[in-house]
Amino acid sequence: MSGAEMTPGRFLRSVLAIFLKDWRSELRTRYAISALLMFVITTIAIILFSLGSEGAPADALSGMLWVVIFFGAMSGLSRTFVMEEERGTTLTLQLLAPASAVYFGKLLFNLVLVLGLNAVTVLLYAGFIAGFVIRNVPVFLITVLLGSLGFAAAATVIAAIIARANTRGTLYPVLSFPIMLPLLLTVINATRLASEGAFFQEAAGEFQILVSYIVVVVAISYMLFEYIWKD
């Protein structure tokens, strides 16, 4: 394999090249971006309609934010791998780049998408849902940042699996939910702490769990990706 003689510099360049390739083709069609954006707007509108003039407890609202983000992520993040299968470009990519470079390139692309998705969701959510108040903003921002990293990490490897399974959308949330549940429970808890105005020290345990989750998921995905990717 050409992966053996790869220097770190060449490896980083091919990661970046794959990221840029996906980014350019995304900008051409804007499929994932528009899907994500419309999903977030529709879901927040549904929440607003169903709440009506009544508020909901802060606990429920901080949980609901992550429900929107979870299903938003599920609607757009499988795109990067499914697209390769649909266009029949998987084989070319297998020949051109080592599997790990493909993995990190796609991870980077999904990370950018999730960060964008989360920024838009949080802004809309905080702007339109009156009962959602964050009393400790730094804790909340760290939660969203680490949450995005975790979502991108777990979503990327599951997306690779479902793209190879040729099942498209239906299985994606089914396979992702048990893997993401530790992440979801932790970010929901951290968001609740942030909305209650807890100090950084109180949320530090949550952050430790998030960081170790990200490290573990990225490491295991990196180790297993070659088996998913190669025929």
Partner: protein, 232 residues
């Protein structure tokens, strides 16, 4: 054959003794089980419910180990083993959930309370469900085996996080969990008398043998089926 006889003897013994031995508030002789306050006759479930839950975890780990083995050696038999273990694990997981839910109705007043262990077994059920949905979605055998193996390894790696997350979110209702007025710790150490421990550990051994026996049966059946299909 020896396994089958040992299994029969052990399981019969556990069932007869677990249900049959009388309970008394102040046990005098070897055959009387102590009454545990708050559990009373309902304590007998520990001889059957805990080993079932234990098996669903053993099966989960077995399935993961054979998944790793499959990815290393690419022998179809390892995938057969991995999915056979997962199938048994799924069954015992359902049994543990149902027996636990019925017991919870009588001890805690409702079938489901989202106690940490209930949440964990729910996650295990979801993982097994997802694993088999993935298997049924892929038709090419080799691809199915690879993808299922990868998924079961990823699932096994993320499950341990619940050990750290659960105590931060909720207190437990299970006997011996954090929040138990009688103190937290393994139930075997502070609530079980020596004779209960003998039955309990015999039951664990019996259930493990049961798993081993059913596992070899399933693997043999799956192998025959594979032979039969390729023969035609």
């Amino acid at each position: 054959m020896a396994v089958k006889i040992l299994l029969g003897v052990l399981l019969t013994g556990v069932v007869v003794l677990g249900f049959g031995l009388p309970m008394s508030p102040a046990p005098q002789s070897w055959y009387e089980l102590p009454v545990i306050p708050g559990l009373e006759e309902k304590a007998r479930i520990i001889f059957f419910h805990v080993p079932t839950a234990w098996l669903s975890v053993v099966a989960f780990l077995t399935s993961m180990l054979f998944a790793i083995q499959y990815l290393r050696k690419r022998e179809p038999i390892d995938d057969i083993r991995s999915s056979a273990a997962a199938g048994l694990g799924f069954m015992f997981c359902i049994l543990a959930t149902l027996t636990g839910a019925v017991w919870a109705k009588f001890n805690w007043g409702s079938y489901w309370n989202w106690d940490p262990r209930e949440t964990s077994i729910f996650v295990l059920l979801l993982i097994y469900g997802a694993y088999f949905s993935l298997r049924s979605a892929v038709e090419v055998e080799e691809k199915r085996a690879t993808l299922a193996s990868v998924y079961s390894i990823i699932a096994a790696v993320t499950v341990p996080f619940f050990i750290f997350i659960m105590p931060r979110i909720m207190t437990g209702l299970h006997p011996g969990a954090r929040g138990d007025p009688e103190g937290a710790g393994p139930v075997i150490e502070f609530k079980m008398s020596p004779n209960m421990r003998v039955i309990f550990f015999s039951s664990l051994i019996a259930f493990t043998l049961l798993f081993y026996w059913m596992f070899t049966l399933r693997v043999r059946a799956a192998r025959l089926e594979a032979h039969h299909q390729s023969g035609d």
